[in-house]
Each structure stands twice: as C-alpha cells, then as structure tokens.
C-alpha cells in the first residue's frame, strides 16, 4: 500500500477545495449519507428537471479528505447529465472501486475519467472504501427515488 497512491495531488486538492460545496439554488432533490463508524456525513442537493436531467448538483458534508474529494468529484462529473447516464457513471465508478475495473468513458472527457480514476487507490485501503463511495451511493439512492 503506497500512501501516495491514496493521497494523490488531485485528491488533496479536491479535499481542500471541494467543488460545488453548499446548497445549490432551487434544489428539488436531496439525500443524506452517514457512516456511523466514523461519523462522516454527506448531504447531496440536486436540481432535476422533468426531462430527468441533473441540472445542478452540490453537497455539504463533514469528513476526511477522501470523502470530501469523492463528493466533490462526483458533483463535478455528474452535473448536467441525464439520469440514465448519471446512473451508468455511478455504477462504473463503484465497480472500479470494488473490482479494479477500468472506468468506461461514457461520453465523459478524458480529464473527468482521470479525476475519477484518481480515487482508485482506495482499493488498497479497505477501511477507507466507504469514504470514497458514500456520496455516490447517496446520489444513486436519491435518483432512484425520483426515477420510479
């Protein structure tokens, strides 16, 4: 386990300066995630339209660098996407973390894929996997609720 694989520049940067932090204006979907073992919390806010598109996306939360970076990256990548694409991106991300899979591009630009891939180091730190996935699970639940 190489520590630098976990704490990459890009993660430290997202952790220190999380993107899309706060409540986005006129959000109409929100959901909370919580890890009772360590107290990490995330609250996701999304503005979705009738065409099932995530127009705006943001989060608030407390947690370690990994969990903040992960939520930050999530909001960055999923904002502006349609539900179905958002769900594919989320599920690809979770598969990558769990099963060492390569990320599919899913019409994301290369930069975004690289950013998501930067969280892959967490695989070697099993106790930290939840930090990296909590926000993604939370958004997935929230969209599922809307999608039915």
């Amino acid at each position: 386990m190489e520590l630098k694989e976990l704490y990459k520049e890009i993660i430290l940067d997202h952790g220190k300066n999380p993107r899309n932090f706060g409540k986005c204006t006129n959000y109409n979907v929100d959901a909370k995630g919580h890890n009772p073992l360590c107290g990490d919390k995330v609250h996701i806010y999304a503005k979705v339209d009738k065409e099932k598109k995530v127009i705006d996306l943001s989060f608030e939360g407390e947690g370690c660098a990994i969990s903040l970076a992960s939520a930050s990256i999530l909001t960055d990548v999923v904002k502006g996407k349609e539900y179905s694409l958002a769900e594919r991106i989320i599920s690809d991300f979770l598969m990558m973390i769990k099963k060492n899979d390569k990320m599919k591009t899913n019409s994301l630009d290369e930069d975004q894929v690289t950013t998501m891939m930067s969280l892959s180091g967490v695989k070697e730190f099993p106790m930290r996997v939840k930090c990296a996935t909590m926000a993604w699970h939370t958004l997935s639940e929230a969209l599922k609720g809307k999608n039915e």
């Binding site: 919580h34 009772p36 073992l37 360590c38 730190f125 099993p126 106790m127 930290r128």
Partner: protein
C-alpha cells in the same frame, strides 16, 4: 483425510487420564478442538490481534476482513441466502435468548401461545419462560411418542390461532433423536407460524441447508462444532431480523446517538454490540474448513457406524436400559444401569479414562417424563471409533462388578 487419521488432529488425545488413554464420549457437552483451530487462534493473538470494525490501522483492517470472511464461510456452510443473516453470539443459549427477547417484544402478547417440546434443553425453554411471565403468554409442550421422539401429528394438535412461534430441537442431546423438521416447518408455513430450530446438536452431525429447511431461526454453538468456546451463531431470516429491535446495546451497533434518541445500524451489525470474540470467530473458520474437508456425509457415516456398534453392544446387556429409541438418530446414547446411579457410573468410568456425562443434561422436563432424575450419556464425535466403545463396555462391566 482418512477417518482414522482425524483423531491425530486433536492434541487432547495425547493427554492421559488416570494413566489411561482418553476415551472422550462427551462431545454433546462440548467437543474437543483440532490443532488447526487452536493454532489459528494462537497465530491471531500473536501476529494479527486487534479489535475489529473501528480502527483504520493495518491490524484492524486485517482483523475485520478475517472476521467477516468467517461470516461468509458460515453463510456457505449452512446455505443461508444472505450474509447478513449470520449473527455471531456467545453461544446457542444467547442466540435463543436474542430471538425470544426481540421476537417476544414485538410479536407476543397476553394469551399468545409458544409451542415447545418435551425434548427441549433448558436453553430452549427458560428464555420462553421469561416471555411467559413478562407477557402472560402460554407455553405448550409437544408430547413425545413412546420412542421419546417428536411427531408432526402431536405438533399439529397444539397449533391454534394463538400460536405465535414454534421452537424445537433439531437433534436431542439426550436421545439423539432427529426431529422431522421438514414436515413440521411445512405445517407451520401453512399457518404462517415461524419456527426456531435449536441446532446446537444438529449442526455437528447433520448437513445444514437453510434455504431448503426454510426455518426462520437456527441456533448454533461453535464449541460443539469443534470450534472455540464462547462463540455461537444465530441464523435468522432477514425479514425477521430487519424488524427486530436490537438485543444488547453498546458500541458498534448504533447509527446515530443523540441525547434524546438513538437509531441503530442494520443487521447483522445491530445485533453485535461491543467488542466481539474476534480470535474465536477467525479460528472458527478452521472448524468449518475441517468439516468441509472431511465432508459431512462421511462424518455422519463414520459416526453412525460407531453409534450403531455402541447401541448393539449396550443392547446385549439387559441390566442396561436405553433412554429413548428413536428410529432416526445420531451420535447420542443415554442409558441407565440397574441399581447403579449415573453419577457413580461416570466416576467409575473416569477411572478408566472414559469421559461420559451423568445428570439430567439440562432436560429436566424429559427426565420428569421418564421418571428418573438422571441418566448416563455417551456421545460420539468425529474422533471416536469402535475401540472407544469397547473400552466403554469394559468399564461398565467394572461398575457392575464393584456394585455387585
């Protein structure tokens, strides 16, 4: 592994008892431990020890992973649908107390009925007695047939629209009788009555398949399964466990704790309060490995041979009275000897290195029924053989001579 080599895996058999070879016929009480289990525990304490689930340092990560691996192994071993259906407890006793408590709180009201049998161990009666007192519920006991066996018709007779749960043993720790569980569970299903199986004696001798058996709860003691003591398993269907309030409260089983309220984690976590028996859980994985390596069918075949030889030899002596003669049985032989009290038998047998148990074996209802306060019990594990039976028979001969 050859059957006659199994014994070599158990270090205890190097111990001499009163200068004699140890003939251990008390496995229904607790089984001996193979070297792999003991060594795994030692290795864990010497190289890997840590508390699980709470710290993020390397030792804790390893410990947590190994602990959860055993949960997966147990799930496979008993063929449960979900890993979340496997809860680690202190023993079968705690497993049953947990269900009686959490099921009772939610589903048992005044006048409701709990069906047990006359064959039950105190562990599968006392917790229900608590409910009877707290909730003013009633307990009905299934009457045994003349072979001291549980019979589906007798269960049927007791079922009413007030029956809330049926709790019964898989294999009697006195008669060795195997309960016709499938029939009883099928019957219960038609009335939507959940069934708890006390599998303490079943698990070491019978192949388990929760999906096929379809019981709602199954209680196991690891120390009778060649595993460490102080550890048990409760299998429970997720649909029940999800509804249950937690049992013991403490660290690790919570979701959020505020001054005015507390919410709980999901199953199985909500039932595993406080520091768990990490070393024991990890080592129990080795018990499962051993049993699967030998194969449960081969174990049963081997034990049946020794059992039948024992039954044959004891039957020849008409001063011996066998307690219960169920047709379908395993491992356990209880008996009385004319004019000699079981305690005296046990003490005299011990002089020859033969370890059996004497008493009511925590089945006082059954002993009241047969009208003797105590019986002698020889029970067979994977390490026993016909020679053990020969030594037993010989030692019984000595008893009779001493008392003649």
């Amino acid at each position: 592994m050859k059957i006659n080599e199994i014994r070599n895996n158990f270090p205890i058999f190097k111990t001499k008892i009163n200068g004699k070879k140890l003939v251990y016929l008390d496995s229904a009480n607790s089984s001996q431990k193979p070297k792999t289990v003991i060594d795994r525990m030692t290795y864990f304490y010497e190289n890997e020890y840590s508390n699980i689930g709470r710290s993020v340092h390397s030792l804790a990560v390893t410990a947590t992973n190994k602990f959860e691996e055993t949960r997966d192994m147990v799930q496979k071993f008993i063929n449960a649908k979900h890993r979340e259906e496997i809860i680690f407890t202190k023993g079968a006793t705690e497993s049953i107390n947990l269900v009686a408590n959490s099921f009772g709180e939610k589903f048992i009201d005044e006048g409701d009925e709990i069906i047990l049998t006359e064959l039950e161990h105190h562990s599968n009666y006392v917790p229900w007695h608590y409910l009877r007192k707290k909730r003013k519920a009633n307990i009905k006991f299934v009457k045994l047939d003349e072979n001291l066996q549980i019979n589906v018709d007798e269960v049927k007779k007791l079922i009413s629209n007030k029956t809330k749960i049926i709790a019964l043993t898989h294999l009697s720790n006195v008669t060795g009788g195997i309960t016709p569980l499938k029939e009883i569970i099928d019957l219960a299903k038609t009335k939507n009555i959940p069934v708890l199986v006390d599998g303490t004696q079943g698990a070491p001798h019978l192949k388990l398949d929760m999906l096929d058996l379809d019981c709602d709860f199954y209680a196991i003691s690891c120390h009778k399964l060649y595993g460490p003591n102080g550890l048990g398993v409760l299998y429970g269907k997720k649909k029940w466990l999800d509804q249950f309030d937690p049992y013991q409260g403490g660290g690790g089983m919570i979701d959020e704790v505020k001054k005015n309220n507390i919410t709980y984690a999901e199953t199985p976590t909500k039932f595993e309060a406080g520091t768990m028996q990490t070393a024991e859980v990890v080592a129990f994985g080795e018990s499962i490995k051993l049993l699967e390596k030998i194969g449960l069918k081969r174990i049963k075949d081997h034990e049946d041979k020794v059992l039948n030889y024992g039954l044959e030899m004891l039957s020849k002596d008409n001063s011996i009275n066998l307690v219960g003669t169920p047709k379908n049985k395993a491992s356990v032989i209880s008996f009385t000897l004319k004019g000699i009290h079981p305690h005296d038998i046990a003490t005299i047998l011990d002089d020859d290195g033969v370890a059996i148990r004497a008493g009511h074996h925590c089945c006082q209802i059954l002993h009241d029924k047969i009208g003797v306060p105590a019986t002698a019990r020889a029970s067979i594990g994977i390490y026993n053989d016909k020679e053990d039976i020969d030594i037993l028979i010989n030692a019984i001969g000595k008893c009779k001579k001493l008392f003649s």
